[in-house]
Amino acid sequence: MSAKPALHQIELTPTAREAERLMVICNACRYCEGYCAVFPAMERRLNFAQADLDYLANLCHNCAECYYACQYAPPHEFAVNVPRVFAELRAETYKKYAWPGPLAALFRGKRIVIPWIIGLAALVLSVANPAGTAFYDVIPHEAMVSIFLAVSALIVSAHVAGFIRFWKGAGETVSEFLNPTAIAQAAADVLSMKNLSSGGVGCTYPNERHSQARRIFHHFTFYGFLLCFASTTVAALYHFTGSVAPYSYTSVPVVLGTLGGIGLLIGPIGLYSLKRSRDPRIVDPAQDGSDIDFLGLLFFTSFTGLMLLAMRGTAVMGPLLIVHLAVVLCLFLTLPYGKFVHGIYRSAALVKNALETMRKKP
């Protein structure tokens, strides 16, 4: 329906074929339409091309309400398990839309890469002077900025390219994306994690009992990340106005960074422990590696950052700074090729969902 005829001709992958089978069953049932955005989006369609399925899979927040409520869930012969199949399909879209492809392939499913990158990053950074007593004695400001500017340029391009590839793949044009109402709607969905609230009782994660735990820990992680980002941005502004790090404990960058850092300690630990007790029937175990890597990198970014803050007046400052920067560098490098991209594609899917809802009501 919504997809262009040309997209229909794309052969479905085996995972997408299974997702299509489920959507045909779900579309004849529709009992779950009150749970989240996925099922009303499904009801806007009669046929499911690869583009539709990629979109629906990324709209799914994996709350699993629909699994526990499903009269056709295994052991029923229809074996409907939407959250698991959509998780598998999401992994395929992450792979398909990641850019540049060869670089993405380097990271895929190879957890060994992370310590390897940390080591390399530490090596690069250690050409600096670990015995320095001030930040920029350890590593000159220009070196730090040029390394991180280069990496940031890479990851921003990778994310923009990934987003555009996903957006076009879902049958939309870039100009359609720039719709303030739809973007505002999607932003509200993201900032509130509405699709994990299930009308206020919380989603069925990690098991069939309703709980807000995942939403709360996701908020800690998400807002922690944003606060750290804000801290870095303010610090950069300070730097260019002549105020050089380190800043006092009551300064804006340190307060923002500390609050964000606390969020990034609590959030990832919470999400990891929930993940450990997740109902195995709903999990795509193939993605555990990249999920846990991402949570681990967030945690250690914050942990080494807070350690550095606490010990910046001591002799271990130099080595700590190098380790911290290495972990941050590793986090940045893996962002476009790991779990972080779920945020890009989920947000894009939410914008598309808002657009579709508006188009339905002329």
């Binding site: 004849a28 526990y68 009269q71 869930a73």
Partner: protein, 463 residues
């Protein structure tokens, strides 16, 4: 060994809506309760796991219901579909209690949703469970666990000791082992016998073999039979059941909602001999879909085929099985294993009889066939002329049976004209008291919810 005897104040047989409402109400009243659910955990909840809503009276719009639906209108609907085959006192009691049942369900944690799509336009009369009946049952079971109700799965009652209408004890198979159980009072909420093909054959003859059971395979009527054998007074015609036309490719059991086909009024329906047999456009589909099961059951080999053309695609809920498609009527006939010449004749004579009109599938439109076509199609008659042509096989899909035990307004089961002091019934096993024939959608769940609570409270008062 006495220690092996399962003892509680109340034994509830069954695991669906009525059973859990009874168990929770009895527990709220302070009684200890054991629930015997014969299905395993994954299939708990009887036919309630396939339901979606309950019909509810209301004087003004509520958070989940639009408009108003008064006691008299609700009763008029029951009177109409049952053709008077009801007990007005019990029916009105259920209707009046229905808003309380919704409120009570909410108190247990059940969530309702405003009605959206795909629901036969029931947003005014029926309160929809968020996520459907299995979500409803999950909530009740979660609440039962929190209240300390003892729930046994794979627990099939094999014998009941009933003397002079009084329950004394019983036997069950639990996880394959025999056990004895005792209780001061018994609530029977174990459904009908629609999954018992031997019993169905007694009532419907050999035609029953070709029926498909839309719901649980665990409603075999064994406890119903025990009660009748022990002298309980029966109510309802054993040959009556709720039987709709569903996709003939559905699984034998548990296919549920997705096997429903809503395209009958949009085309023609032919039998094995490729001829039409009933007015497909007699009434709006929600008012007629429940007669088509019986109509198909009366056709040779209990099969029929809905034939539509491409014009009507998108005008009905997609079904779970794809239509059988062909570019010509003859090819479609071959694909459906019908006589190509006869189907051609049937379609041609239908097309010739179509009187042009303004098609509107949401109202009783003026598209009908001219006088000489037998049977006529009185609404939504459009020529079947736009390929590809599509066919869906139809089979009788049995939802539930009406034969049950007679009860009073305290849910007490009647034995030889006298009401039992400690045997109560709720749900499908006694729904025939109110629904002697036909049912307005969602009324079974209302009866289960209201009588379940009455039975549970009554049982808790037995000394």
């Amino acid at each position: 060994m006495d220690s092996d005897i399962l003892t509680s104040d109340i034994a509830v047989i069954g695991g669906g809506n009525a059973a859990l409402c009874a168990a929770l109400a009895a527990r709220e009243a302070g009684a200890t309760v054991t629930v015997f659910e014969c299905a395993p955990f994954d299939y708990r909840g009887g036919n309630s796991r396939h339901t979606r809503n309950m019909r509810c009276m209301h004087e003004a719009p509520t958070d989940v219901l639009t408009g108003a639906y008064t006691e008299d209108e609700f009763f008029a609907d029951i009177l109409r579909v049952t053709e008077g085959n009801t007990n007005e006192h019990l029916a009105r009691m259920v209707i009046r209690e229905s808003p309380n049942s919704v409120a009570w369900a909410k108190k247990q944690g059940v969530r309702f949703q405003p009605s959206l799509g795909g629901t036969l336009h029931l947003g005014r009369t029926n309160a929809f469970f968020l996520g459907g009946g299995k979500a409803l049952m999950n909530t009740y079971y979660e609440r039962a666990a929190a209240y300390g109700v003892n729930v046994l799965y794979n627990a099939e009652v094999t014998a009941l000791d009933i003397r002079d209408g009084r329950f004394l004890g019983g036997m069950l198979q639990h996880e394959g082992k025999p056990r004895e159980f005792r209780a001061k009072a018994l609530v029977v909420a174990s459904g009908g016998f629609e999954a018992n093909f031997e019993w169905l054959e007694e009532a419907w003859g050999e035609a029953a073999r070709n029926f498909i059971v839309r719901g649980t395979p665990y409603n075999r009527g064994t406890v119903l039979k025990m009660l009748l054998t022990a002298g309980a007074d029966s109510i309802g015609d054993p040959t009556q059941g709720h039987c709709v036309a569903i996709d003939g490719r559905a699984p034998k059991f548990d296919g549920g909602i997705v096997t429903r086909l809503d395209c009958v009024p949009l085309g023609i329906v032919v039998n094995k001999n490729a001829v039409r047999f009933y007015d497909e456009g007699e009434e709006l589909w929600p008012k007629r879909y429940a007669i088509w099961g019986r109509l198909v059951a009366q056709q040779p080999e209990q099969i029929a085929y809905s034939v539509i053309d491409s014009k009507v695609l998108g005008r009905f809920m997609p079904s779970v099985f794809p239509p059988i498609k062909a570019d010509t009527i003859e090819q479609l006939a071959n694909a459906l294993e019908l006589s190509a010449a006869t189907l051609r004749d049937t379609v041609d004579s239908f097309n010739q009889a179509v009187v042009p009109g303004t098609f509107n599938h949401q109202v009783l439109d003026d598209c009908h066939t001219s006088g000489d076509l037998k049977p006529p199609k009185t609404h939504w008659a459009q020529k079947i002329d736009t390929p590809p042509f599509m066919g869906y096989p139809l089979r009788p899909g049995l939802t539930f049976t009406y034969l049950g035990v007679r009860v009073n307004d305290k849910a007490q089961v009647q034995f030889g004209g006298a009401f039992s002091g400690n045997i109560f019934a709720a749900g499908e096993i006694m729904a025939g008291n109110i629904l002697g024939k036909g049912y307005p959608a969602g009324t079974g769940m209302t009866i289960g919810a209201v009588f379940g609570r009455i039975a549970g409270k009554g049982a808790a008062n037995v000394r």
